[in-house]
Amino acid sequence: MLIVHRKILLSFLVLFFIIQSLLVYLDSNKFQKISFSPSAQLGRTIWLENNCQSCHQIYGFGGFLGPDLTNTAKYYSSEDLIEILETGPLQMPSIKLSKKEAKDLSAFFNEIDKTGVSVPIINNYQTTNHESIEIKDIPWFEY
């Protein structure tokens, strides 16, 4: 390939990379503006420090041993969630959280739940309690 063609190709690729990165960085909608409360932020730290992602997922990100927990708060009240986190649910061993830590982690689940829907189910839009989320807000689920 001629040198001039190589230069054109590389310039195009660099430009494409910059544009694509800017599209991601500058993209902003109401869900992306949702921020954690101080309690949920502490809950996020507990999630990371205990490496919960090795078994569970948030938005499909993580291990497959346990369920995706993005919308787990939809199925449990805050009180139930705190109790489950303190004792350890089903096959999962207890991660020995204090009441305060369980409360923070519960806040994390409650707030991440409000950002969108990770796992779509057939009756998702009828059963969900996300009143703020409409079908049109959840890209690529419209079919």
Partner: protein, 444 residues
């Protein structure tokens, strides 16, 4: 710089050994009695998974960089003293060893970053970044002359090494509150950086394959051809965008998703053609078609074909809804990491180790059965995970739990098929290490 290449090849194989041991222990922990025993040692999947994944990535990078050091040996009249290179190599190589040991110890002790692939404490990330910059300095000092006349694999490696720095830094933006306070922003950046991180080591692997093909065939025309550069260009577009097929469900711009959808299925097809060309080049050399290198690259070609199929499924939005977040994605990642990247690195390392054709033929007889076992076990593992993942996705979509027997079947098939595969890997690693240690160190 054979001595440095050899040291890196040994380190890469030792790293792969750790990957396999962590994988075996994780597989054993699925079984009732053995699992309980491992738990009494204080080791759980929490500890094993980040060791397994971070070391798997290290294996690919180290194997690829070993071939780059081999490439350095092709240069004469350097603008940097060879002794300086050796000293700088010692610095970054030592940092990699110290970081690797530190990462394993801290992960076993329960210090996690809680992130995918880069699950270790950020202090090691800093060490890795510093050592990477040292390596980049050597790379550019050695190869900076006449960059526009270089073969395509040089461009692949250059972009791979620079993309590593970009995606590695981007992946650590989560440490700052302007990112970590906004969950969707953090998740979209994590997917972007890891997608490009994977693209970075894929480029390293493809570059190494092309370099090896050129060395074996002694045909330098392909790596300068229009076809090679165009395939590289389309491949790089994929590297920048195709991660987004994992983010269809994230509330973000449709444009990012459309771009990803349009280009996401091309990369493995490109690889398929590249490897076909390489095999063609290798076949042109008499006697070489029976070597270990040929068999590993053929396996790589086969797996790239199968991975195309899974990539196609994952990229189609309605199917993505069913299978994303299930074992199908795990199967896809495993097919790509083992079937493509690992077999490709085995192929290039076997060329590096067994340049003497007679030795290659003798060794091939020893490991022929292992290569077949690896391929068959991998096939059954991926098939089991794909079947389970698809069924699970359908049940999930219907808002039901899959029958318990399905989970048990998957658990046992993971155990049954991962053992012969792991043992075959360990045997091949042993053979490679044995020959690398025996190899006469050339100090050029």
């Amino acid at each position: 710089m054979i001595r440095e290449a050899r040291a890196l090849a040994i380190l890469s194989l030792l790293t792969l050994m750790i990957v396999i041991i962590a994988g075996i222990v994780a597989a054993v922990s699925y079984f009732p009695v053995a699992g309980e025993f491992i738990e009494t040692l204080g080791i759980t999947l929490q500890h094993l998974r980040p060791i397994h994944t971070s070391m798997a990535i290290a294996w690919i990078y180290l194997g690829g960089i070993s071939i780059i050091y081999h490439y350095f040996g092709d240069f004469e009249n350097l603008t940097i003293q060879r002794n300086t290179i050796k000293k700088l190599f010692l610095v970054h190589f030592s940092i990699w060893i110290v970081s690797g040991i530190g990462i394993i110890i801290t992960l076993l002790s329960g210090f996690f970053s809680g992130r995918e692939y880069i699950g270790f404490h950020p202090v090691f990330s800093l060490l890795i970044l510093i050592s990477w910059i040292i390596f980049l300095y050597i790379f550019f000092k050695v190869t900076s002359k006449n960059i526009w006349e270089k073969p395509v694999y040089h461009y692949m490696w250059t972009i791979s090494l620079l993309l590593f720095v970009h995606s590695f830094i981007e992946n650590h933006l989560y440490l700052f509150s302007f990112i970590n306070s906004f969950p969707i922003v953090e998740i979209k950046l994590q997917w972007k950086s890891l997608g490009q991180f994977v693209g970075s080591f894929n480029l390293l692997v493809y570059g190494s394959l092309l370099y090896t093909g050129e060395k074996i065939s002694k045909d330098t025309s392909y790596a300068h051809s229009k076809k090679a550069f165009l395939l590289f260009g389309v491949g790089l577009l994929n590297t920048f965008t195709n991660y987004a097929h994992h983010t269809y469900h994230l509330p973000q711009s449709h444009i990012v998703k459309w771009i990803s959808f349009v280009v996401s299925m091309l990369e493995v097809i490109i690889l398929y053609f590249v490897i076909s060309d390489i095999i063609g080049l290798i076949r042109n050399r008499k006697g070489m078609n029976k070597t270990i290198c040929y068999h590993f690259i053929s396996s790589c070609k086969l797996w790239s074909g199968l991975t195309i199929f899974l990539a196609l499924l994952i990229s189609i939005p309605p199917l993505n809804t069913i299978i994303h977040g299930t074992h199908v994605v795990f199967a896809h990642a495993m097919g790509a990491m083992i079937g493509i990247d690992t077999f490709a690195i085995f192929g290039v390392l076997s060329w590096f180790i067994f340049k003497d054709t007679n030795l290659a033929l003798q060794t091939k007889k020893k490991i022929h059965f292992s290569i077949i076992t690896m391929n068959l076990s991998l096939f059954f593992l991926i098939a089991s995970m794909s079947i389970y993942g698809t069924s699970f996705g359908i049940y999930r979509y219907l808002d039901k739990y899959p029958p318990e027997i399905m989970g048990n079947l998957l658990r046992y098939s993971l155990g049954v098929f991962s053992f012969p595969m792991s043992l075959s890997f360990l045997y091949v690693i042993f053979i490679f290490l044995h020959n690398l240690v025996k190899m006469k160190a050339d100090s050029n």
